[in-house]
């Protein structure tokens, strides 16, 4: 990107001395971390805690998978099994997916990408982490002290009148964590509106910023609704306030409307930032401007808007009226179109690009495949006639894992690898990371593809036993095998990324030769992000594949060693030549 700092002498480039103070080494004290207002440090705090929660959620997932290899289980009692799948859902949804990309990558990148020194409200930002931690502690406390067995959906009247587990404490935790989301959303919106660097017009924004902005809007509109709804369950459970439970005079279906009014858009809180990451990765590794930039930006907003009008497709068989079902189905089909557009645009971006198959790009290509399957299988569930059979089965489980894990987690891993040098100042080992990205793809498909079949056969979700239907077993065994591969492919990056913190090669300011303001400051950036606020003069993703290709050729002719294992170095040398 042609972002020219006002004073060329302070351009932060690869020549930046390593001893320079950055946001990581500015102050080593614990207090400086816990009381920081720096969006980058808050991003790192989120990274550490969210990774921990992801680890816990994965253990629960592993227990579920191993238990299901036998038709009548062999590790857990039914009650424990129910608590385990509830823990998996609650942790993964509320403490991982909703926070992962927005609060880790979003917090870290948004100000850097728009050329700001920090978020609009740094202290609010820190508060959001503390709220998240308090909420997380409540949720963990509830799970340890009695557990919760109502599933992450908390359907009434089970959760309000019948569950004997510690629902109240967990709900309180989710309620508190909701405010953490809201404060993050406010920060995204205000920062994007008010803090853009001079010359950073709306249509020069990286698509990641568009995605985070749209996410902020969804968070602010949706989260208060679910917060109030969960509070209502607490009131009904504790004070027997008649709201949802039929025996008290309430309406259990009302809960589902309120819950899905948030929880469907929550899917977009998880996937929109993933779209943003995906656009960055595709553009920067195809070395080409994203095809249909405007259409992608608008389709992001369209998804955020339409996403609020489809909640009823979770309730086709819940006794909502038939006509309601028809309307919700129609809008659900319509919301599929902007997602399809994005997939086509990413694919078209590759056309005439200068594609580099590095780790983040492999994740991005995997994302296209997995998200395509995840999105298209959503049609089976948005389609009324087929939803009647498939809803509440493993088909739906497979579908949302393709979107949430195949989409959001793949994008998160891709983004984490892409911005890892910027966040930590270190390079991770490229070849092992590359093979691991392929392993994620294989493990993922092995785990979740069989679940489509067993779901179509009629295996209901949240089933502990299926000894009465032994024909389901082969698919569960395949799925568990896959999940073992998948678990391995999550452990490996954990190890090499941690190791790279101390052993990894030092990263230059722009190891990928990428475009974007975040790459124009040192790695890791100084606390104030930019020594001088950059002025943006040109479009985002300003690549020129033709010239670049010629330069590659020229570099080869000059016998610049192409066998250098560290590709980053060759990119650097090429950049110097330019």
């Amino acid at each position: 990107m042609s972002a020219i700092p006002a004073d060329p002498n302070v351009t932060a480039d690869s020549a930046t001395p390593r001893t320079e103070t950055n946001y990581l080494n500015a102050d080593w004290s614990i207090k400086s971390w816990l009381l920081t207002g720096d969006h980058k440090r808050i991003g790192i705090l989120y990274l550490v805690t969210v990774s921990f929660f992801f680890f816990l959620g994965s253990i629960a997932a592993g227990l579920i998978r191993y238990e299901l290899t036998a038709p009548a289980g062999f590790i857990l009692e039914s009650e424990t099994y129910n608590k385990v799948f509830s823990a998996h859902g609650i942790i993964m949804v509320f403490l991982f997916l909703i926070v992962a990309i927005p609060a880790i990558l979003g917090n870290f990148l948004l100000p850097l990408m728009i050329g700001a020194r920090d978020m609009a409200f740094p202290r609010l930002n820190l508060l959001s982490w503390y709220l998240f931690m308090i909420g997380g502690a409540c949720i963990m406390g509830g799970m340890i002290n009695g557990g919760v067995d109502s599933g992450w959906t908390f359907y009434v009247p089970y959760s309000s009148m019948y569950a004997n587990s510690n629902v109240t404490m967990v709900l309180t935790g989710i309620f508190i964590a909701g405010f953490s989301s809201i404060t993050t959303g406010i920060n995204f919106i205000v920062t994007t509106h008010k803090m853009r660097a001079p010359g950073m017009t709306w249509f020069r924004l990286p698509l990641m910023v568009w995605a985070l902005y749209a996410t902020g809007v969804v968070i602010i509109l949706g989260t208060p609704v679910v917060a109030v709804t969960l509070l209502c369950i607490i009131f009904e459970r504790v004070f027997h306030l008649p709201i949802f439970s039929a025996e008290l005079g309430g309406d259990p279906v009302l809960f589902q409307h309120l819950f899905w009014f948030y929880s469907h858009p929550a899917v977009y809180i998880m996937i929109l930032p993933a779209f943003g990451v995906q656009s960055e990765l595709i553009a920067n590794f195809a070395r080409k401007r994203v095809f249909g930039y405007h259409l992608i930006a608008f389709s992001t907003l369209a998804i955020a808007g339409l996403g609020f009008l489809v909640w009823g497709h979770h309730m086709f068989i819940s006794s909502e009226s038939m006509y309601q079902g028809v309307v919700f189905s129609l809008i659900s089909f319509l919301v599929a179109i902007p997602s399809a557009i994005k997939v086509f645009n990413w694919t078209a971006t590759l056309y005439k690009g200068n594609i580099r198959l590095q780790t983040p790009m492999i994740y991005a290509l995997g994302f296209i495949g997995l998200f395509t399957i995840g999105g298209l299988t959503g049609l089976f569930l948005g389609c009324l006639g087929t939803d009647v059979h498939l809803t509440n089965t493993y088909f739906i489980v497979a579908h949302f894992h393709y979107v949430m894990v195949g989409g959001a987690v793949t994008a998160f891993l891709g983004g984490l690898h892409y911005w890892w040098p910027k966040m930590t100042g270190r390079l991770y080992p490229e070849s092992i990371a590359k093979w691991n990205a392929v392993l994620v793809f294989i493990g993922f498909n092995l785990t979740f593809f069989p679940q489509f079949i067993v779901g179509f056969m009629g295996m209901p979700r949240r089933y502990h036993y299926y000894y009465f239907a032994p024909e389901f077993q082969p698919y569960h065994i395949m799925s568990t095998l896959g999940s073992t591969v998948l678990a391995l492919s999550f452990i490996i990056p954990g190890l090499y990324l941690t190791r790279s913190l101390t052993k990894g090669a030092k990263a230059s300011a722009n190891p990928w030769g990428a475009h974007g303001l975040e790459w124009e400051t040192s790695s890791p950036p100084p606390t104030s992000n930019f020594l001088q606020i950059p002025v943006v003069l040109d479009e985002v993703y300003d690549f020129d594949p033709v010239t670049e290709h010629e330069q590659d050729k020229a570099a080869q002719a000059l016998e610049v060693p192409s066998y250098l294992s560290n590709e980053a170095k060759s990119i650097e040398s090429e950049k110097e030549k330019r």
């Binding site: 039914s78 005439k352 395509t372 049609l379 809803t391 009629g458 290709h549 080869q556």
Partner: protein
């Protein structure tokens, strides 16, 4: 091999075919689009990989026509699928006027089914093929869902309001009945079997208060067993070379080998069925097999009841029905996968901690229904 490794649910209701057509159409769309995108991605990645000599001049960044095309074509396809899906859904939600009503009550953790003539059953549902049924359902506690995969029919069962579903079963057989809405600890065991019967057979079933056959008298059961065990092959109406006739034997004096004599009472008959070699009738040799351990006491009682009246007209020919009952009971055995062995072993060894509660998946027969029916007849 594939019968042991099914990948599709059976089609057993009038919705199944239409549902599966839409499903496979969507599947085709999914495969076509995924393959298209996949080939596109792989082709571009190979062709435009860094260092390849592909022509990169005049790249396109926006193209209104192309973008309109790939917005409008999926939109049209989506609307077509929406049309067919909605059409099927409306059919599924509007029961025909002649549908017979069945009431279903869901409670933690069992299904209670009430047929319109008063027959009740738990965790099973017997319906005939070819006749539309409308289920009116309500829950006594939390939300459940009544799900019959083979019928492609599923509906929530909600406390405080009635929900309905309907279907016309088409294929006789035994199918899974599941609760598909999470409802607490034993959620996965809240279910059972839907038995689709031949219409005539079902008519008998419902007429007999929910028994697969008319209740047989002890003598009738005994007669059936007598034939099943092939007792009549040797013990015929007359004494023959192999065995004495048992006609009118009850209470008579029998002379045994060695001259001793006994009265043919219950103890004698029982012993002679189970261990015939102990007391051999004069003039015959020890040829009858030992039934000790082969049949149980209940069967001995049945046989004895029949032998008491043998030769008279009491034990007349019985109604048909046993064969069907046996077929129903063994219905799944033919298609059982190797994995089933595992499951059955478990089931047998541990049918089990919940055995005494009414929440097991056992296909409990509606004993109460008979009483109810008799009561109704009495009034």
């Amino acid at each position: 091999m594939f019968s042991n490794f099914p990948a599709t649910p059976p089609q057993a209701s009038s919705f199944s075919r239409e549902h599966d057509l839409i499903f496979y159409a969507l599947l085709a769309l999914t495969v076509i689009f995924t393959v298209m995108v996949g080939i596109g991605v792989i082709y571009f990645v190979i062709k435009y990989k860094r260092g390849s000599d592909a022509d990169r001049s005049r790249p396109i960044y926006e193209d209104a026509r192309l973008e309109t095309a790939w917005s409008v074509i999926p939109l049209i396809l989506a609307l077509i699928m929406f049309y067919f899906g909605t059409k099927l859904f409306i059919t599924m939600r509007v029961p025909p006027a002649d549908a017979q009503e069945i009431f279903v009550i869901g409670k933690q953790w069992m299904w209670h089914v009430q047929h319109s003539n008063g027959v009740r059953e738990n965790n099973t549902l017997h319906v005939p093929a070819g006749k539309p049924f409308k289920l009116t359902m309500i829950s006594q506690d939390v939300i459940h869902a009544f799900y019959i995969p083979a019928f492609r029919a599923q509906m929530h069962v909600v406390p405080g309001r009635y929900t309905t579903m309907w279907f016309t079963p088409t294929q006789p057989g035994k199918y899974h009945l599941f609760c598909s809405m999470y409802c607490g600890t034993q959620h996965s065991e809240m279910g059972g079997t839907v038995v689709v019967m031949e219409p005539r057979e079902w008519a008998n079933w419902i007429e007999n208060g929910g028994q697969s056959q008319a209740t047989l008298t002890l003598e009738q059961s005994g007669e059936r067993l007598y034939k099943q065990l092939a007792c009549n092959n040797c013990h015929g109406a007359e004494d023959n070379m192999r065995a004495p006739s048992l006609y009118g034997i009850w209470g008579k004096k029998r002379t045994l080998t060695g001259g001793r004599s006994v009265i043919a009472d219950q103890s004698y008959l029982r012993e002679s069925i189970l261990r015939p070699h102990n007391k051999i009738t004069n003039g015959y040799s020890n040829t009858m097999p030992v039934y000790d351990g082969q049949i149980n006491e209940e069967d001995v009682l049945k046989l004895m009841a029949y032998i008491k009246v043998i030769g008279s007209s009491v034990g007349g020919p019985s109604s048909s029905g046993t064969d069907t009952a046996a077929a129903v009971l063994n219905g799944t055995k033919g298609t059982m996968s190797p994995f089933a062995a595992n499951a059955i072993q478990y089931q047998n060894s541990s049918m089990r901690r919940v055995d005494s509660t009414p929440t097991t998946r056992s296909g409990e027969l509606a004993v109460n229904a008979i009483a109810a029916q008799q009561e109704a007849k009495g009034n």
